[in-house]
């Protein structure tokens, strides 16, 4: 590999209080699939934003195709031949596919011509798309197709993909990889950001590993084991959560024909969900984002109400009850969005502990707040769950993602729930905090609580759950024992490949 397409040398970017990238260097050859590995907060996103012209580096230089490359705007980067598929889609829900594609192009042709080209390119690469549909009506996999086609229409020399598979079913991942291999065969270089190591092993030719903004190693992923790469990323040995198998007990949570309309016009309504969760059991609910996960959490936590007999807790009808009444009965929940849903960002940890703990921990009385008790409760959470913070008086916003997540989950666990529902418990959390949270959930189940874990991370669900069910377009599949499930079976439960087909271009 003598030829170099993109070369990055000594790229440095500092934000107040944190160095996001410290003298990062690496090279990509044409037609190479290069992985950028690292935990959340390792500086991967900042690095690609500099390549894409969204952020300007403080120091260092880049060359692209042999010439100096200093994009000051994404327009300049696109003009040079760099395209990017974003992690959180850069799409506009109320606009149609063709309009979304046009917004990502430098000089788009008239709409009708563009629609024809979208059809043409999407068929060539096996990513069927209707240019007239509203993006808000598309599934996550289809939305990603929109982003990819937007990039492909510009014949990029370098395609940056930021965590592209986190929202896809295993089958869709397979199709994406076929498409990427076609592109690679055509000479397009791909910079692939992910923390899913098995994917990187199958797809990538080279990898650069980042930790805390610095390059800590380069490797050939095909020759490394997933574990060795993970330890390079984390910088320490990982311990796998474990627990002793236990016979499940009585039915704690019982959903019967639960149907709830989504409050979001682009959301997914729950349709006829049946579910039984027993004491001492962890039920994993998988599914691609936007298939009813948020609605399910809201229906269980009491944010949206349901017919009384659709949800039963230990035999009692609770569908019509609000969150506080359910907390009193022992059904607790921790939603996905840490800042703004699970915790109030500008309130202190004590206040946040009070918000959900007031009832079960008796932190209020006669209309007044028991501040000492609340502070004590917050202190217990911080201590029991190793939350790194100077003290309970700090604002929730000041905590890192992993620490705040430990606090949010710990707050519910310490209230001794009969049933705990969590959504995406380890999303955007570093590996060691994620392991601690999973261990805590398993310990809770071992003590006899029923636990429902809604997550998009299949590896996580396979690791901790006793039974696995999948949400697909608001319908919940029948739960199956998690042990022995194959990736293909899980993929089919998640809805298969949603009418995608494998790329059939002759490379």
């Amino acid at each position: 590999m003598n030829e170099v397409l993109l070369s990055v040398e000594g790229l440095t970017k500092a934000y107040p209080g944190v160095v996001a990238n410290d003298a990062v260097s690496f090279q990509i050859a044409p037609g190479e699939v290069h992985a950028l590995l690292g935990e959340n907060g390792a500086g991967k996103s900042t690095l690609v934003k500099m390549i894409y012209g969204l952020v300007r580096p403080d120091a260092g230089r880049m060359t692209f195709g042999g010439a100096a490359f200093e994009p000051t705007t994404p327009h300049a980067a696109r003009a040079a031949g760099v395209a990017m598929v974003f992690q959180h889609f850069s799409l506009f829900e109320a606009l149609n596919v063709a309009e979304n594609v046009a917004l990502g192009m430098e000089s788009p042709p008239p709409q009708r011509q563009l629609a024809r080209r979208i059809r043409q390119v999407s068929e060539t690469y096996g990513l069927p798309l209707d240019p007239d549909r509203l993006v808000g009506d598309l599934s996550a996999g289809e939305r990603q197709r929109v982003e990819i086609i937007r990039c492909l229409l510009q014949d990029p020399k370098l395609l940056i993909m930021d965590e592209p598979t986190s929202v896809l079913t295993p089958q869709e991942v397979g199709i994406l990889f076929e498409t990427l291999r076609k592109l690679q065969a055509e000479g397009t270089a791909i910079l692939y950001i992910s923390h899913k190591l098995e994917e990187i092993k199958t797809l990538c030719d080279g990898a650069t590993i980042l930790r805390l903004g610095k390059v800590v190693g380069e490797c050939n992923p095909r020759e490394e084991s997933a574990r060795s790469m993970a330890e390079m990323m984390v910088g320490q040995e990982l311990h796998t959560p474990s627990r002793e198998a236990k016979e499940p007990g009585e039915v704690v949570l019982d959903l019967a024909a639960l149907s709830v309309a989504s409050s979001n016009p682009f959301g997914t309504s729950l349709r006829n969900v049946h579910l039984e969760v027993r004491s001492g059991e962890i039920l994993g609910v998988g599914g691609v984002a936007g298939n009813g996960q948020d609605e399910m959490l809201a229906a269980l936590s009491g944010e949206t109400s349901a017919p009384p007999d659709a949800i039963k807790l230990c035999g009692q009808d609770i569908g019509h009850l609000g969150p506080n009444a359910r907390r009193r009965l022992g059904l607790l929940a921790a939603p996905e969005e840490r800042l703004g849903h699970a915790a109030a960002p500008d309130m202190s940890l004590t206040e946040n502990a009070l918000l959900t703990g007031a009832i079960r921990e008796q932190l209020t009385g006669g209309g007044f707040l028991h501040w000492p008790k609340a502070r004590d409760f917050a202190g217990r959470i911080i201590e029991a769950f190793d939350v790194r913070t100077p003290g309970p008086e700090n604002a929730a916003r000041s905590l890192s993602g992993g620490n705040l997540q430990k606090f949010v989950i710990g707050r519910e666990i310490l209230q001794r729930p009969a049933c705990l529902v969590v959504n995406q418990p380890t999303w955007g959390v570093d590996a060691s905090a994620a392991a601690a949270i999973r261990q805590a959930l398993m310990d809770l189940a071992a003590e006899g609580a029923a636990v429902v874990v809604i997550s998009q991370d299949l590896d996580e669900l396979m690791e901790i759950s006793d039974r696995f069910a999948a949400l697909n377009e608001g319908r919940l599949s029948a739960p199956r024992p998690a042990q022995g499930l194959t990736v293909e079976e899980i993929g089919m439960m998640l809805g298969g490949a949603h009418d995608m087909e494998v790329a059939h271009v002759e490379a």
Binding site: F89, S90, L91, F92, A94, L95
Partner: protein, 366 residues
Amino acid sequence: MDLSAINPAVLIASLMVAATPILLAALGELVVEKSGVLNLGVEGMMITGAVCGYAVAVSTGSPALGFVGAALGGALMSMVFGILTQYFMSNQVATGLALTLFGLGLSALIGQGYLQLRPPPVGEVNFGPLADIPALGTIFFQHDAMVYLSLALVGAVWAFLKFSRWGLILRAVGESHDAAHALGYKVIHVRLMAIAFGGACAGLGGAYLSLIRVPQWTEGMTAGAGWIALAIVVFASWKPVWILVGAYLFGGITVLQLNLQAAGAMFPLAAIGWILVGLGLIDALVQHFSGKNPSILRIVFDICLVALGIFGTWWVHGTLVPFKIEYLSMSPYLITILVLVIMSSGRGRAALSAPAALGKPFHASS
């Protein structure tokens, strides 16, 4: 009740004149809101435009220059809002309300020297023989240039938003500023331009009042026209053609109100009864189409409304109580509230036409 004094052709022609100021202001606000900014200061920008246009026209003797001055004045005023909300991240609702108060005060100050003057007259556009066609001529061909300009602007804004690349970028910014930023569009610049356009349009609307409709300068002469313009944007669910419908509808109500007053008309109490019946039925329809399980309480409430309307009217049958003309001027706001209720209760496409990022502050975090 003597309604024969009202000539339909004249009524429609004067409806168009009455609607033009709110049409202009509402069009401007539509563009602003499509870019994701909620500027509640329309009233303040209108009155500033009114006094600027008046002052320039009186000093130069040219109404055309007056309108240019009004547009500039309105745009300048809107830039106060733009800079505060876009660069200093101030709250859009509070800043917009402050802009209204500021505009009312500033215009009174500027207008002190112009209280007793008459502005130069603005003539009709000469359509030759077309203007002499009975009825049609009165309705369509006897207006001043601004009426035609406002109509052209409706078409221009519609085409701009639907077909042009800049229109697409503007809608994209109003839909998701984070995604637009990630693609490299300058969210703040786009929004500032939209705000300036909105200010200029509101200024033109204000000047239309002080130079043509009234034509004179008095303090606080916009008298709520800016708020009606804001209401129309919601009523039209952010569609330019519906802005035209809304503005002419509400303009029509204003004219009708004046004409009815002149004709000394009295409304029977029956009108109130029937409004209650209508409200009850509409609410029941909303319940039906919203896709949610209707709550018993709401249905009982609707039935009570309908019953009260019917039996109330029946009970006082024969007793004609004067219907206050003010009820008519309330109607734009009542209709807007109704539209808002329908939009927020239904989860259908209507709710989607609102720009998703409307009123949300943007801060480039990367």
